[in-house]
């Protein structure tokens, strides 16, 4: 079983090394398409941004640009939808996004794609996967984009839950709608619990997986999952968060699913370098070099089995030894052949 899995791992690595030029844009396209479609389903206030051709074209552009383009398009689409609903909600979200951008710029932790992945996984009821995966694959600083991803998700949630209040222009003033929006996002206890739980899990998983103990990655996934679950439950109870949209059962199921997916990811990422074909240019005094460096494929060596044949009672009566070592016989034959040749 393990051998088959290892072979699959090699095949995946081989496949990626060979077709990474096509795989990367396809992944970016799918990611952009999924996240923009999710925005359409959860917000969808601007009819122009809801049309499938617009989403497809935007996803196609994202697939050709660096991965940060997905984040830019996601935020632009989100602001567009919110602007179409309410000016006040747009101002609050825009200001919060600017604050997040400048705070992000202080450390530039990288992995800005997490900003898109977190709301997407929240939509798929698997947000608990994010901190475990980040702890396994990134540094502790990735807690910053993860926290901002949570804020983005709660922005969407708050706008979605307050459509009526934000569109009632007759009964409330602009300032009241601004206050409502700011209140709901900035003092959202559920958001605070999620941010703290995510940060704690990322730090814990990162520290454990770097320990020099056997199976540190698996231990990190297990402990990270349990601590995250406990942190969310304790936090929700302590802060008396009621309308989080997650029941305890869905939380536990989501966490189990996340741990399982994290184990699969661990299998495919741990000690595997997904090196890709590189194109480099350089020169010396005599030549210009245009080099295509293709990663070498290392095929897992087949496991060697030593078969030992034990003779039965009949054979023993015939005077045969208890155990026949075929390897020894072969060596003897080869030795004889060598001597004959001499």
């Amino acid at each position: 079983m393990m051998m088959k899995l290892l072979l699959i791992k090699d095949k995946v690595k081989e496949f990626y090394g060979k077709y990474d030029v096509y795989i990367d844009p396809v992944i970016k396209f799918l990611l952009a398409f999924a996240s923009l479609s999710m925005l359409k389903n959860s917000l969808g206030f601007m009819s122009q941004l809801n049309s499938m051709p617009v989403i497809l074209v935007a996803s196609l552009i994202c697939s050709l640009l660096p991965v940060n383009a997905v984040v830019v398009f996601y935020m632009l689409f989100m602001l567009g939808h919110i602007f179409a609903l309410s000016m006040e909600a747009f101002v609050v979200c825009f200001l919060l996004m600017c604050i997040m951008f400048f705070t992000y710029f202080i450390f530039k932790p990288g992995n800005s794609i997490i900003l898109v992945l977190v709301p997407l996984l929240f939509g798929w009821k698997l947000p608990y996967l994010v901190p475990i995966l980040l702890g396994l694959t990134c540094s502790m600083l990735s807690a910053i984009p993860a926290a901002f991803g949570v804020v983005l998700y709660y922005m969407i949630l708050v706008v979605k839950n307050n459509v009526m209040a934000l569109t009632e222009t007759e009964s409330s003033s602009m300032l009241i709608r601004f206050q409502l929006m700011a209140d709901q996002i900035v003092t959202n206890k559920g958001m605070l619990v999620m941010i703290l739980a995510f940060a704690l899990t990322i730090v814990l998983v990162y520290v454990i997986r770097r320990l020099s103990v056997a199976h540190s990655w698996k231990i990190a996934i297990g402990i990270g999952g349990i601590v995250e679950l406990a942190a969310i439950l304790v936090g929700m109870t302590m802060l008396e968060v009621s309308s989080t949209g997650f029941s305890t059962a869905s939380l536990v199921i989501g966490m189990l699913m996340s741990a399982l997916i994290a184990l699969v990811v661990e299998f495919f990422l741990f000690s595997v370098d997904y090196s890709r074909t590189e194109y480099v240019q350089f020169e010396d005094d005599e030549y210009y070099y245009y080099v295509k460096a293709v990663p070498k494929l290392t095929v897992t060596p087949p496991q060697r089995e030593v078969k030992r044949f034990t003779v039965n009672q009949k054979g023993r009566e015939q005077g045969l030894q208890e155990t026949v070592d075929l390897g020894e016989d072969i060596r003897n034959i080869m030795r004889e052949m060598a001597e004959e040749e001499k």
Binding site: I99, F102, F282, D284, V291
Partner: protein, 137 residues
Amino acid sequence: MIRANKVKTMTRAAMFEKKEARGALAVNRFFRGDYVIYGMIKSAISITIAFALAVGMWVIYHAEELMTEKSVADLFALGKQCVFMYAAVLILFLLISLAVYCVRYQKAQHKLKGYRSQLRKLAKSYQDEASAKEKML
């Protein structure tokens, strides 16, 4: 003549340059102190803008209260409080930046070790080539 070993070393060095153009190699352009101070200045500017935006948001949120209920003395007291808070946030973020940029510089230097040894290998192969040419002449 193209030498396979030289091309291999050059390719490895070029791949590193391509990968780390904005990472370790960009960090290496600075002395340690300069890099950390540059990072801290960037952090100070960013946190100042972010703080100003947050204060702006707070002012809009409390606009009515500030316009009607607060006296000039209250507003001055609020301004003072705001400055103290800004100073505290700035100091906190500068300290975190100091630690983060120090660690980043150290990591970059560690990454550059392998690259430097490749460059030394290249320099040696150039020397060997030159001496071989001289002998031929």
